[in-house]
Point group: C2
Chain length 449, copies 2
Amino acid sequence: MTTFNLDTLTAAFADIEIITDTAQIAKLSQDYHTFSPVLVPKLAGKVGDIVVRPANEAEVIKVAATCAKHRIPVTVRGAGTGNYGQCVPLHGGVILDMTKMNEVLWLKPAVVRVEAGVKLAALDKKAREIGWEIRMAPSTYRTATLGGFIAGGSGGIGSIQYGLLGDRGNIIGLRVVTLEEEPQIIELRGDDVQKVNHAWGINGIITQVELPLAPAYPWAEVIVTFDDFMEAAKFGYALGNADGMMKKLITVFASPIPEYFQALQQYISPGKQAVFLIIAEPSLEFLPGLVQQYGGEITYQKLAQDTGKGINLAEFTWNHTTLHARTVDTSITYLQSLFPPDSQLQLVEQMYHHFGDEVIMHLEFFRVRGAVIACGLQLVRYTTEARLNEIIQYHEAQGIAIANPHTYIIEDGGRKVIDPEQLKFKEMVDPYGLMNPGKSKVLEFKVSQ
Amino acid sequence: MTTFNLDTLTAAFADIEIITDTAQIAKLSQDYHTFSPVLVPKLAGKVGDIVVRPANEAEVIKVAATCAKHRIPVTVRGAGTGNYGQCVPLHGGVILDMTKMNEVLWLKPAVVRVEAGVKLAALDKKAREIGWEIRMAPSTYRTATLGGFIAGGSGGIGSIQYGLLGDRGNIIGLRVVTLEEEPQIIELRGDDVQKVNHAWGINGIITQVELPLAPAYPWAEVIVTFDDFMEAAKFGYALGNADGMMKKLITVFASPIPEYFQALQQYISPGKQAVFLIIAEPSLEFLPGLVQQYGGEITYQKLAQDTGKGINLAEFTWNHTTLHARTVDTSITYLQSLFPPDSQLQLVEQMYHHFGDEVIMHLEFFRVRGAVIACGLQLVRYTTEARLNEIIQYHEAQGIAIANPHTYIIEDGGRKVIDPEQLKFKEMVDPYGLMNPGKSKVLEFKVSQ
């Protein structure tokens, strides 16, 4: 890569907040790829040279222009809560920390426009003042930024109702600054937002986002336990398809996963399977009937009035599950698998039995093109990379799509092929290939030509 | 049936509004079964003896006690907008008109409790004051009452998001008065509401309803036209499955149906297929992309700010379609058919070609147990009852479920078999079989024993 003079940079960024302390830089060169024992050695020692924290779009433009001029790599980050090394600078350079750009620009019923660095929880709180909330969020929503969520993708709590960020309608508009000597500001709207959504933050610097909102129901949190794992899974699926019951989370854990949740021991007996729910209070009266149908038992319930107090169930789901398991056993890692639509969940059952205690079932239900789908974030008792790959290949051979979280290369993960529209846009907004170079095989090839 | 003395009745109802004018009684013994050339002769001349219009539950109880004591048939009605003769008294007696009991008892975010005679439009207006609205409504929502909607079933505008009234969660609670000498008041909640939902108003007198609400999005109305019918249908299906796009109506009309809509001629060229939509404004920017994919053209759009002005697209859909067609050609009647889930809509295509101009495709998309389903409210150029039955049988033979709107007998219509829970409840709340007797084969048998 191009070498550059750090003093030239600090001079160029005179009015902008910068961080040159190496400990701080090292911290801000990290994310949660540490969940993967495969990624950890591969990304070890990768750090930026300087952190820049712009306060507004004018400052972003100044950074972009300077980096383009001097051909300095730029790695954009929000809170660094991603799990695929998106925020780890592969070739040093500038870490562009967007967290100071956190303003809610305007808010009206069903739509909000914000700066990209806004934290999801803060945005949610603001929207709830007028009776709305964000449609979906990862389990890291307390710290994660909206820009980071969009760049890293792809869905979370709320996706059982609204699908994924990549579905038409879930992002209304995006504004990006290009990495050029004279940076452009580009507003993408409608279907065009997909040029930037889930593009690992390397398709321009997202500065603003316009987002549709969801109604802020009074949400209750519920734990249901079951003796039988498949009954728990089928209950989750049935609730997912109950059109009259509003919910934003349906998580199913095979035993012994709930035992990793120390704060919840009194609600889940050892050996039980557990389902965690966030369900609208007007639908709560209908839960016992459905629970009974599958032989479950409601063991915990927190009403909307107590939101924010005590236990927060969401923070045990999605990839927080892996986090909790790893605090008990650091040898644990995880998979990301998309089971094909199937009302009988046959492949779930097959995998559940096939791997036994080596791959422990954790399902999140969400909608994919209208259908309720079981997504597995199975916990894996890691032994070797070869065995992990074997497990992945076995799933793929059965028709279960794996979005491999053990690679930092885009094409080796969930996307397989970079969307040609994204690629075309990439070439326009980052003509010198400066945005965290090394993330993509295709791009690497193009840039080195 | 038991004979009774009208003077005894009017005396017993001294404090209650009654109607004895025969022209008025005849009018209030009617509904919109007139869409069916088969039902018209069968229900001709069926009228009540008196109309009673209670102002509160105490008056309902008085009417119920009196009718039970004297074994007088009671036919409960809302606005009489049903299409299966639900409001036509088969054996005379009292017409219980519930339209004066129209109070909104309480309203909070996401839930409302009302008296059963409230008009849907009035309830909707009230709920919108706090940012909510009813989840679903028939095309007759301007005049229809909530109690009538629930008794007659089963879904409508909004069902593409929330399914049908019969789905868990779409009615929270119901209060009924029994037909006994000493009437009881029974509150049904949760799954138990199904004992009364879609029971033709013969399972107790519904006096109150507790209903979950939907977020009041700013709704836009849109017409999209297509050259090809199947492209129009597939567009509708795709929009139905677009989880990120909020909508409450997806109606597809084969040509020449749009030609029956005189007020809309400037928006739909002769020979075109048309899709009518109600879509949330935050999703509107995503419509052109989807429309283009199926070769359609947006020809009309009304934004939320103009709601209530000019054309009201909803009033051309569901069974209003039949109404408009019949104002042009009274020989037209209709079907109600549920196509099995199928992303290719193959049976829709097969029926479209098979019947040509005799059965003209009109589809409403809605959700059934999580899946987007095409419901046909096809227009039929009626010739004879035999031919109509032949058409119905042909559909059924292909696996298309028909909810026959050409019978007033429950078991011959959509339900085929009365739910045993409904039957058990019926025996408890109407022990003398006084609620519009003659509606059910099973009940008739039981009562005459």
